[in-house]
């Protein structure tokens, strides 16, 4: 009896951790993308990228709202977003990396969009109705994001020597953060057994195939034998997350409970 109760508690904690990871990754990526507001290379792209950021913020809100509900301690999605510290965030390392130039931002987006479309397509089949619903709604948005980032990777790769150089540099610098997307922890295993979570290892070959086709089209080469970065599953982050949170959470921390 005692063991069964412990088992059920753990599944709930696992679901909380899993949903937090998804929500945090969306939140931090959206925060990074919104740094381009007003700084886009030209008006149309400025709007395109910031609209993409808004779509991702929307997803983050839905996910964190559900995470708070699963946690069942009376916190809201705002509490989770604005009052936690770095060691409590589970976003992927790639989402917190600096934007760099537009080519770097775009190639990061291509890596993430390709993964997200595969991931959320699978998650829409989850036995957890809320996660499946959020995933189903996200699929159309992510299809568009991917079309946007993939077409820009192609343009940069087949543009000028400078655009290709910047794209290649961005790819080299971000490639070490791509493996982490597919890491499965105890949480993933437990929830996968329940039909809630996605088998990330099954997504990897599909992702690799699509990305290598894209990079080939864009004349970008991939480094082999690269040390892959890891740690976010244990809430271990790069030095960047602290600065992102400081900016993102400043208002809520300076004026607790502020409403407008």
């Amino acid at each position: 009896m005692g063991n069964v109760e412990k088992e059920m508690m753990n599944t709930n904690e696992a679901l909380f951790n899993y949903t937090l990871r998804l929500g945090d990754s969306s939140l931090i990526l959206a925060q990074r993308l919104s740094e381009w507001t007003g700084h886009g290379p030209f008006l149309e792209e400025d709007l395109a990228l910031t609209n993409i950021a808004l779509d991702i913020f929307g997803r983050a809100k839905s996910l964190l709202e559900y995470a708070a509900q699963v946690e069942g301690k009376g916190r809201t999605e705002d509490d989770l977003a604005f009052l936690r510290n770095e060691r409590q965030f589970y976003n992927t390392l790639i989402s917190e990396q600096p934007n760099g130039d537009y080519a770097r931002t775009i190639i990061r987006q291509a890596f993430v969009d390709c993964f997200d479309l595969l991931f959320y397509t699978e998650l829409s089949k989850s036995s957890d109705a809320t996660l499946a619903g959020i995933a189903a709604k996200s699929i159309k948005e992510i299809t568009y994001h991917k079309r946007h980032s993939f077409s820009w990777v192609n343009r940069f790769g087949n543009g000028t020597s400078e655009s290709l150089e910047r794209l290649q540099k961005g790819c080299n610098e971000l490639w070490p953060y791509t493996n982490e997307l597919f890491e499965m922890t105890e949480v993933d295993q437990m929830l996968f057994a329940n039909g809630v979570a996605v088998d990330l290892s099954a997504l990897k070959p599909k992702w690799e195939k699509e990305i290598s086709a894209l990079l080939q089209l864009a004349n970008v080469s991939v480094q082999t034998e690269v040390h892959m970065q890891t740690g976010s599953r244990k809430a271990l982050h790069s030095e960047h997350l602290g600065y992102i949170l400081a900016e993102m959470q400043a208002l809520q921390r300076m004026h607790p409970g502020a409403k407008w």
Binding site: F42, L43, E44, E45, L47, A48, N51, Y144, R147, H148, S151, R155
Partner: protein
């Protein structure tokens, strides 16, 4: 590259609200190729559910009437009421036509 405008050519955007309805001009944008023009049109002009279909056309492809032609092109039709289908009595049973 010729320095001054490096945003690409200008394209006119038309949005169709629902299938079967006319495409309506809603603005323009700069883009370098067709795919980009279409995506930019979607991002700029369909943010609030304005429509279900988009056309983008290079502004240079549009042929427009000039203001000098206004008189000979359009004024003659102003006093030709026989061109309007308003002289028929529609029997009650027909309803709306």
């Amino acid at each position: 590259m010729n320095g001054s405008d490096s945003q690409g050519p200008l394209w006119e955007v038309f949005v169709q609200k629902k299938s079967g309805q006319p495409f309506v001009h809603c603005g323009n944008l700069h883009a370098f190729d067709k795919e980009m023009a279409l995506q930019n049109a979607r991002d700029l002009y369909t943010r609030r559910g304005e429509g279900m279909s988009l056309w983008v056309v290079l502004s240079s492809a549009i042929v427009a009437s000039s203001p000098e032609d206004m008189g000979s092109f359009f004024e003659p039709s102003n006093d030709k009421i026989f061109r309007h289908p308003t002289f028929y009595q529609i029997p009650d049973g027909v309803g709306h036509m």
